[in-house]
């Protein structure tokens, strides 16, 4: 079963993503910010995919992705999710190491094909 780390400071958002992903057959681990995500990474080993919010306390999504990409581990795909729609935010996310940038609100039918595509289980829509 593919393992996905969901990183968001909003509990409701984490739960929403968990339900979508678990119903689709993925194993989900949650982290409340980038710092906790790095700790989970150390404790549980690399994940198959990272779903990352941008604005979080302690360590934001950009900081997490930079740290993730600097680690000598397999370069698992990362999807950055944000409320911000400016091209500059999208560019910053891709520079930080995101494979994909999705703007909220997230719909299951939008998220799942992208996740499966990045995991090599189908084509991204």
């Amino acid at each position: 079963m593919k393992r996905i780390l969901v990183i968001d400071d909003a509990a409701t958002v984490r739960l929403y993503h968990r339900e979508i992903l678990e119903q689709a057959g993925f194993a989900v681990t949650e982290a409340i910010n980038g710092l906790e995500a790095l700790e989970k990474l150390e404790a549980d080993g690399p994940f198959d995919l990272y779903l990352v919010d941008i604005n979080m306390p302690k360590l934001d999504g950009y900081g997490f992705l930079k740290a993730l990409r600097e680690k000598d581990i397999p370069q698992a795909p990362a999807i950055m999710i944000s409320t911000e729609s400016s091209p500059r935010d999208r560019e910053a996310a891709l520079v930080a190491g995101a494979n994909l940038y999705i703007i909220k609100p997230i719909r299951p039918e939008q998220l799942l094909p992208q996740v499966r595509g990045l995991l090599g289980e189908g084509h991204p829509s």
């Binding site: 909003a10 509990a11 409701t12 604005n55 306390p57 900081g63 409320t83 911000e84 909220k104 609100p105």
Partner: protein, 208 residues
């Protein structure tokens, strides 16, 4: 990078060994120095001078060094007068997420000075700024937080602003929020996240 013998070490820059006086006038001059290290010291020490809020807020607009900017934001938070709070609020309009988030974290700790500005922030034309304002409410210990959030989910027409308010309302909401949550579900019937989060919030406050 290894330091060469005889090269100044970070310890040489420790604040305790500074030669410059720390009076207000000197600190204000040093805040404009060409050396980021000196600007950093000045920004930090100016936290003890409330009248420096104007200079710090002004320097926010011109400073290019990220670490100096972070210290300016922190010092404005220590000063926390109206000028300082307005300077911090200006950070919500910055492009750099790191600085924006630093300002949000500082503003969260300033309930009374921030409160008079919240109504205007929540009506800013830029939905991203309204979202950051809701982020500030996250741990703002102020008696109006629930009222502000209810106002957002009742009136704001941007789904992501409402969703952000909803996330917080599901944690801090009371039965007072019931009607607003139900109205929100009706306003965004096609948004799965709004439906999910509003249902969750209603369950948590015990008024399914």
């Amino acid at each position: 990078m290894a330091l060469k013998r005889g090269q100044p070490t970070p310890a040489d820059h420790s604040p305790g060994e500074r030669q410059e006086p720390r009076d207000l006038e000197t600190l204000l001059q040093t805040l404009l120095d060409g050396d980021p290290m000196k600007r950093r010291w000045a920004a930090r020490d100016l936290a003890d001078h409330p009248t420096a809020a104007v200079a710090l807020a002004t320097q926010l607009q011109h400073e290019t060094d990220t670490t100096v900017l972070q210290i300016i934001i922190s010092s404005l938070g220590c000063i926390a007068n109206d000028v300082a709070v307005r300077g911090l609020i200006d950070c919500l309009y910055l492009e750099q997420a790191l600085l924006r988030n630093t300002a949000i974290e500082v503003l969260k700790e300033l309930p009374e000075p921030v409160a008079p500005h919240m109504g205007q922030l929540l009506q800013d034309p830029d939905p991203d700024v309204r979202i950051f304002a809701v982020n500030v409410l996250e741990s703002l210990r102020h008696s109006n937080v629930e009222e502000w959030l209810i106002g957002v989910i009742l009136k704001d027409d941007h789904v992501n602003v409402c969703a952000t308010a909803l996330d917080l309302l599901s944690e801090v909401g009371s039965p007072r929020a019931r009607e607003a949550l139900q109205a929100l579900k009706q306003r965004f019937p096609e948004e799965p996240y709004i439906q999910f989060a509003a249902e969750l919030a209603l369950k948590r406050i015990g008024v399914e």
